[in-house]
Structures are given as C-alpha cells and as structure tokens.
Symmetry: C2
C-alpha cells in the first residue's frame, strides 16, 4: 500500500524558503499571493495490507526519522489501493 | 483562499533523497518499506475567491516558477474555505 506523509513547519516557525517564493511570485506579477509555506511530501511504498497497522507504523517512522517534531507537524494519508 | 501545490519528480527521474530515506528506514527496522519518493508541498494563501480562476492562476505560477516541468509533475488542490 501507499502512504503519503505531509510535513510542514509549525505555525510560529519562520519559513525563509516560503517567503522567498512569495516575494518572487509578487515580483512576477502574481500580486494576489499573500503567504507561502513550503513543506515536504514523502510518498512511501510499503508491504503492509492492514491500513490501521500501516498508519501506526508510518507514525513511528515520522517520530523516528522523517519529521523533526520540535518544529514540524506531520499528517499521514493512507492511499487505499483497491 | 488556500491552494496546495504538490510537486513530485517524474517517474523515470532518480530520487537520491528518497533512496537515502528508504535505506535509513530499512536500517532502523522498517523493513516493510520498499520505495520512497520525496516531493515538495507548497501552501499558498491567495486573495482570490473564484476557485476556477484560482486554479488557473496557480497553474501559471507552477509553470513559471514553482515546478521544473522537465523533471517534475505538479498537482493543484484548491481548499474551499466556507
């Protein structure tokens, strides 16, 4: 099954990459853009058929390696392959 | 309104960051992980109330700045704020 992990900086944390993109978009004429945040999306292919157990394992991967939970929030999407 | 842009490397393109994560997860005991791809998620806050026009503008931003369409695919999610 496939799991998708979305990792984004917590609200109070400065996001210089997002700010740079925001400025660049404004400069390019996209003046309607007011704020940009940049996160990571990690797509995992996993040999596990139980969605509940898959979610639990992926959460452990996030806590162990994928996310820095001091400054980042993560969310897990389990894509059902049927 | 908020728009989310997901950018991921095209299928044939080597993803060394994904491979490194995959190896690390295997080493940490997550042997069920068979493949990892790493993409970017860009969250845009935009002063535009028409979802169709929003999507069109964001697509133009992707083509102009956000995505490298030679090696990356992008998808746009418009989050309805009601």
């Amino acid at each position: 099954m496939q799991a998708i992990v979305n990792i984004v900086l917590k609200d109070g944390v400065l996001d210089p990459q997002g700010r740079a993109i925001s400025h660049s978009l404004n400069d390019l004429g996209f003046s309607e853009v007011s704020d940009v945040r940049v996160g990571k999306q990690i797509l995992l292919e996993i040999d596990e058929n139980d969605p509940a157990r898959l979610r639990q394992r992926v959460a452990r991967m996030c806590e162990t390696l994928l996310a820095n939970t001091v400054i980042e929030n993560y969310s897990i999407v389990v894509a059902d392959e049927k």
